[in-house]
Amino acid sequence: MNRKLLAVRADIAEKLSEMAKRKNLTLFSLVSEALEQLLKAENRGESLQKICENHQTISAARKAGFILIPESLWISLIEKNFKSEGKAMAQAWREAGEWLGHYFKTIDPELTPQSLAERLVRGILWSISEFTVSQGDDGTITMKCIGFRCPPTYTTLLASFLTGLMEALGYSLKSKEISKGIILLSFAEAG
């Protein structure tokens, strides 16, 4: 087999070496496996980094008590309960957002609020098909979300989640506009 030498940061090479020993693998096979996975991801038009990031986000969401169910079932449950329980449901989603905000602030303190919000929307809020987040000169953060299939009830819950997330990151809600499948939120740094 044709072998070549590759320069790697020494601290990374050492960690890989330790890993290989622990797993009873050669460094050569461990490194080759990582490159093979890179190629697999690329062949499917994906980035390995994004896939790993996504895995971390979903693992965190599971720790926060998130699970998967078919959207049609979820929407029918919300629709039937929202009238009498809407307030409590919105509060539960807000708390879930808060928990994830605190979690990521702890494990990855360098993440900006914008990149964390993007990561969570992409990673777990799958009903949102379009999402933009921007920061104004005055520090205000604006989020725009569109989820064509979301009824007003579910849209309200998603907005509560994002509000909870931003509160955990030290931002308070400045304004909100919510209509069926559309969320516009702006946040100011809490004083």
Partner: protein
């Protein structure tokens, strides 16, 4: 070993063909190759820190994407249980029907996406679905198959809903449930492959 500084480099041996392809990818992205490979290996280290491996993460990602495209959503379990328990008191029949229909649709989706949809079902259930901690599919000598699902935290009512969902899936995959048992958190289904599709079966059996 302990005195390594972040700027220091070491050489590792890799397969030449993989190296060549990785160089092409980094060129396509306009990144320095050195920075690019370090990022890749950092991902392998992170995966290890999460008690996983890159192949496992890629496999899970594939199934998660399948579920996402099938219209699954992530919701908080507490809230799901809360909503379900309120409705189960008064509308259990219609909930069971809805769960069954959702299962039928999901089965059709798996058939369209995978060569072995039954195996894909067990993998997607195993990886992330609704509190399931263990799924086993085994073939029996008489040609039947047994599907066992364990979700230890589920109540009796929620187990029944999950069982209906699974029955919907296997029926649309052209299996008949010949034996069905469930207790709180445990579902056992014995499956027989249908000779005819379910909607034609009654016509043929009556002939």
């Amino acid at each position: 070993m302990g005195s390594t500084k972040r700027g220091d480099k070491k050489f590792v041996a890799v397969r030449g063909d993989l190296l060549q392809k990785a160089i092409e990818i980094s060129n396509r992205r306009g990144k320095s190759f050195y920075g690019f490979v370090n990022e890749i290996f950092e991902q392998a280290i992170k995966a290890d820190e999460m008690d996983s491996t890159l192949p496992e993460i890629l496999e899970k990602y594939r199934f998660i994407e399948t579920l996402r495209k099938a219209g699954a959503v992530m919701v908080t379990l507490d809230l799901l249980n809360y909503c379900l328990d309120r409705l189960l008191e008064t509308q259990s029949k219609s909930l069971l029907e809805k769960w069954y229909e959702a299962g039928v649709w999901y089965g059709k989706y798996l058939s369209a996406k995978f060569e072995n949809p039954l195996e894909a079902l067990t993998k997607t259930l195993n990886i992330y679905f609704w509190e399931v901690t263990e799924t086993r599919l085994s073939s029996n000598s008489d040609g039947t198959a047994t599907l066992k699902i364990i979700a230890p935290n589920q109540s009796q009512e929620h187990t029944e809903l999950l069982a209906r969902f699974i029955e919907g899936v296997v029926n649309s995959l052209n299996y008949k449930v010949s034996r069905r048992e469930f207790w709180r958190g445990i579902i056992i289904l014995e499956l027989v492959k249908r000779v005819f599709p379910s909607d034609m079966e009654s016509e043929f059996t009556s002939l």
